[in-house]
């Protein structure tokens, strides 16, 4: 389904700025597949939560230029209005933005959990909005042996390594800091691409939807959380995510509570 085409129907200006995913939306197609790809005989990829309903709110235009905080605020507001339970933000950068913070705050007030990527600036401070404490900030880890030794992913291998599993590592590109809540797989990740293909990407953008997928699974299996409303609901889901995680031995500022059990 190409939600971009549906949502820009009848708006020529928006159609130019936000064309079909094949023209520039591969990042979000890859992210969506990590959350909820449904396997078929011809296409055997399975996301973390294949039963989840996914909605796409595109903020990066075809020009290749960045998004604006106006785009991101509108996307978050629309997701809340559409009664989404979880928002995955595989984006970020720069200093804290009060406008995006206000939109995230409203989402949390409505019980929506916001999961955000820590950023790929090679051990710099956690990007905003992942650095916004109510969000679930996600770093990226990898595992030696899950990609060829001579692939470009090998350049992402860096300290800290796991303990006791030394094959695991926090990706060299991943940011870190006290705002990290969890880590997720983000090196050499195979997922969906436009035009019924698939391919490899690496980034905290990939680790983030893996954690969001676990959150979707937890929410669907825990009626007690579903019954809550407002900030209590988002906080309960965030706590359930933390409880589901196990430390890989990287250290608190690199992994938070660790890797969620299902990943």
């Amino acid at each position: 389904m190409n939600l971009v085409q549906e949502e820009t129907a009848g708006d020529p200006g928006a159609s130019v700025d936000f064309g079909p995913a094949a023209n520039g939306g591969e990042h979000s197609t890859h992210v969506a597949g990590i959350v909820g790809a449904r396997p078929s005989p011809a296409f055997p990829l399975r996301g973390v939560a294949p039963g989840a309903t996914i909605r796409s709110y595109r903020v990066f235009p075809n020009t290749g230029k960045g998004a604006t905080n106006f785009d991101i605020m509108n996307a978050i507001d629309r997701a809340v209005k559409d009664n989404c339970d979880i928002i995955n933000l595989s984006l970020g950068g720069g200093s804290e933005d009060e406008g995006v913070r206000a939109a995230i705050g409203k989402a949390l007030d409505h019980g929506v959990l916001v999961v955000a990527a820590a950023g790929n600036d090679s051990r710099k401070a956690v990007s905003f909005p992942a650095a916004f404490m109510p969000c679930v900030g996600v770093s990226a880890m990898g595992q030696k042996g899950s990609f060829p030794d001579d692939s470009s992913e090998a350049s992402d291998v860096d300290k800290p390594f796991g303990d006791p599993d030394k094959t695991c590592f926090i990706a060299g590109f991943s940011n870190f800091g006290p705002q990290i809540d969890l880590t997720g797989p983000g090196v050499g990740i195979v997922s969906t691409l436009p035009d019924d293909t698939y391919g490899v990407m690496s980034g905290t953008s990939m680790a983030c939807p893996a954690v969001a997928g676990v959150a979707a699974h937890l929410l669907s299996s825990q009626p007690a959380i579903q019954a809550k409303t407002g900030t209590e609901r988002a906080e309960a889901l965030k706590e359930a995510l933390a409880r589901s995680a196990a430390s890989k031995g990287f250290g608190r500022q690199f992994e938070g509570f660790g890797l969620p059990e299902r990943l």
């Binding site: 890859h30 905080n69 106006f70 970020g92 206000a102 990407m201 953008s205």
Partner: protein, 86 residues
């Protein structure tokens, strides 16, 4: 000529003036242009002082400067060529 910038106006409280009322006022304000609207946000362009005085009369609304967020980098990139194998 005043330095024109883009700002986002956001309705922060449900009890505040409605987005359509605020937009109507801004459309009548010289030096301020509405670029885009999607409730509860309005993207406007103008000089900061004109916008401040126009928005100041609407409690429960806040102004944020428009900012850019970079496209995520997720494609593998080779920083240096791999060592040749013998």
């Amino acid at each position: 000529m005043p330095n024109r910038q883009r700002f986002i106006l956001r309705q922060m409280e449900d009890s505040a003036a409605s987005p359509s009322d605020v937009a109507d006022h801004l459309e009548r304000t010289p030096g301020v242009d509405i670029v885009s609207q999607q409730e509860p946000n309005i993207l406007i362009e103008g000089d900061a002082s004109t916008i401040d005085s126009a928005v100041g009369r609407f409690p429960g609304w806040r102004t944020f400067p428009m900012r850019a967020i970079p496209v995520p980098t997720t494609r593998p990139s080779v920083l240096k060529p791999p060592a040749s194998k013998k």
